[in-house]
């Protein structure tokens, strides 16, 4: 690929539909979207339960969850690496340096963001709805799906933040994925590699493509959320 203007390179990359680039983009999306989806399924009920129930150690758990929003990706990657390496407890699964390992690591990064936000949002909504729902004979457990559904617009923000974190990080996927060409190479690791090779225009071009992708996903979610919010008040 020609050296020169990174914008021209980005445009060329997109227009040419270079199969290698397409593979990298598609793997990036697959890994990050899977991680967000899995984190969502786990974090929504977890965050909501944390909002609804009082138990010893709850404050500690909330603080820990909030702190984990800032977990450095390399540390998350290292933790997953230790779990999945040959000598690790899950070494026999043979997952290290596979896309699955990357999904696990990114899930770890996204989970605290969505769980924290859903705890906050559900707690606020419960404050507003508590009397009415209790009047209707609704238990705290039964209230969770109702509250999550009514919080759906606010939760979109959390999901987007989670997707942003997953698609932008390089440390975790690099450690557990290994940046293997055609197997575990994603946008961010490709950018890191091209940068270290000195191919700055290509690295920048890839960076622009990544930015466009993230912007596209965010715009779609924003438009969807805004129109729904307007309709439902």
């Amino acid at each position: 690929m020609a050296a020169g203007n990174p914008f021209a390179i980005a445009l060329e990359l997109i227009l040419e539909r270079d199969p290698v680039l397409m593979g990298i983009v598609s793997l990036s999306l697959q890994v990050s979207l899977s991680a967000v989806l899995i984190a969502l399924v786990l974090a929504l009920p977890f965050g909501a339960a944390l909002a609804m129930f009082r138990f010893p150690g709850r404050g500690l758990l909330v603080t820990l969850l909030n702190a984990l929003m800032g977990l450095p990706p390399v540390v998350a990657g290292l933790m997953v690496y230790l779990m999945l390496s040959r000598a690790g407890p899950l070494g026999s699964w043979g997952l290290l340096f596979t896309p699955t390992a990357m999904v696990i690591a990114q899930t770890l990064l996204v989970f605290p963001i969505i769980a924290s936000l859903s705890r906050q949002v559900v707690e606020d909504l419960w404050e507003e709805y508590r009397e009415q729902l209790q009047s209707l004979g609704c238990s705290r457990l039964r209230a969770i799906p109702t509250l999550l559904w009514d919080a759906r617009f606010s939760l979109v923000t959390g999901v987007l933040a989670g997707f942003g974190r997953a698609s932008a990080e390089v440390g975790a996927v690099l450690i557990v994925g290994g940046n293997i060409d055609g197997v575990t190479r994603v946008m961010t690791t490709a950018i890191a590699l091209e940068t270290s090779k000195g191919n700055l225009p290509l690295a920048l071009g890839l960076g622009i493509v990544l930015l466009l992708l993230v912007a596209l996903v965010n715009a779609a979610a924003y438009l969807l959320g805004e129109s729904a919010r307007r309709r439902l008040g």
């Binding site: 507003e128 709805y129 009397e131 009415q132 729902l133 209790q134 009047s135 209707l136 004979g137 609704c138 238990s139 039964r142 109702t146 559904w149 009514d150 759906r152 617009f153 309709r231 439902l232 008040g233």
Partner: protein, 246 residues
């Protein structure tokens, strides 16, 4: 559906020496009171007298600090007993979904089988003139429409007793009329009414008996005629004249 033949039996409701304390403030003290099996009770008193609090204690949303709230049968705080009551709040809390779905949600919480929910919800919407708004998001309805929807939701649940906490204080006259008509309709189904209001005219129109609270104490509980014609306490007399007492 013949509502009069439904198994009843939650009433009368008996309050025995009910006291409620919050952060070392005595908000209700030593209330002993009985709500009989039928009729419309209006709870009156100035702001802060404890009207809303009293209804929340009756409805089981709050637990008395001491004393007892006793239904003819069942535990006052159980969801089971609460499902046989309904409450309409000053500001209705509606879910971010359609008007119809709001009622269906309430019916689901009451264990009504899925196949019957839409029919029952539409019946209730029709009763309150809301059919045209069935698929509209509840949160964008006007204040009056929202309160009617809250009433329709209570209607669909066929409670034995309905609590209304100043249901008209934020509404325009037409919407107030709709709420008062609804109260009459609930009464027509044999549903016990307990309502608080600031509006003296409304109290006169609705009340069969009046509970008068002042400073967290029960000052009078008599028939509406007796209360408005010859109040026993000087405070009640002053309150009826419109004097500021607290």
């Amino acid at each position: 559906m013949n509502d009069m033949t439904m198994a009843r039996g939650l009433l009368p409701l008996q309050l025995e020496n009910v006291t409620f304390r919050h952060r070392n403030q005595l908000l209700l003290r030593d209330i002993t009171l009985q709500f009989g099996v039928s009729g419309r009770t209006v709870i009156m008193g100035p702001n802060g007298a404890g009207k809303s609090l009293l209804m929340r204690l009756c409805h089981g949303l709050l637990r008395p600090t001491s004393g007892h709230v006793r239904w003819a049968r069942g535990d006052a705080l159980s969801n089971d007993v609460r499902r046989r009551q309904a409450m309409v709040f000053q500001r209705p809390v509606l879910l971010r979904r359609s008007a119809l779905a709001n009622i269906r949600h309430a019916l689901a919480l009451h264990g009504v089988p899925r196949s019957q929910r839409t029919g029952m919800a539409m019946d209730a919407l029709e009763r309150f003139g809301l059919v045209a708004l069935a698929s509209r998001p509840a949160r964008v309805l006007s204040g009056g429409e929202q309160q009617r929807l809250a009433l329709a939701r209570a209607w669909a649940l066929r409670p034995e007793i309905l609590f209304l906490d100043e249901p008209t204080s934020a509404l325009d006259p037409a919407a107030v009329k709709a709420v008062e008509d609804a109260v009459t309709a609930f009464q027509g189904l044999g549903i016990r009414i307990v309502m608080s209001t600031h509006d003296m005219g409304q109290a006169r129109r609705i009340a069969d008996d009046v509970v008068f609270l002042l400073g967290g104490r029960l000052r009078e509980h008599t028939s509406a005629t007796a209360f408005f014609e010859s109040p026993r306490t000087a405070e009640a007399a002053a309150f009826i004249r419109g004097a500021l007492i607290w």
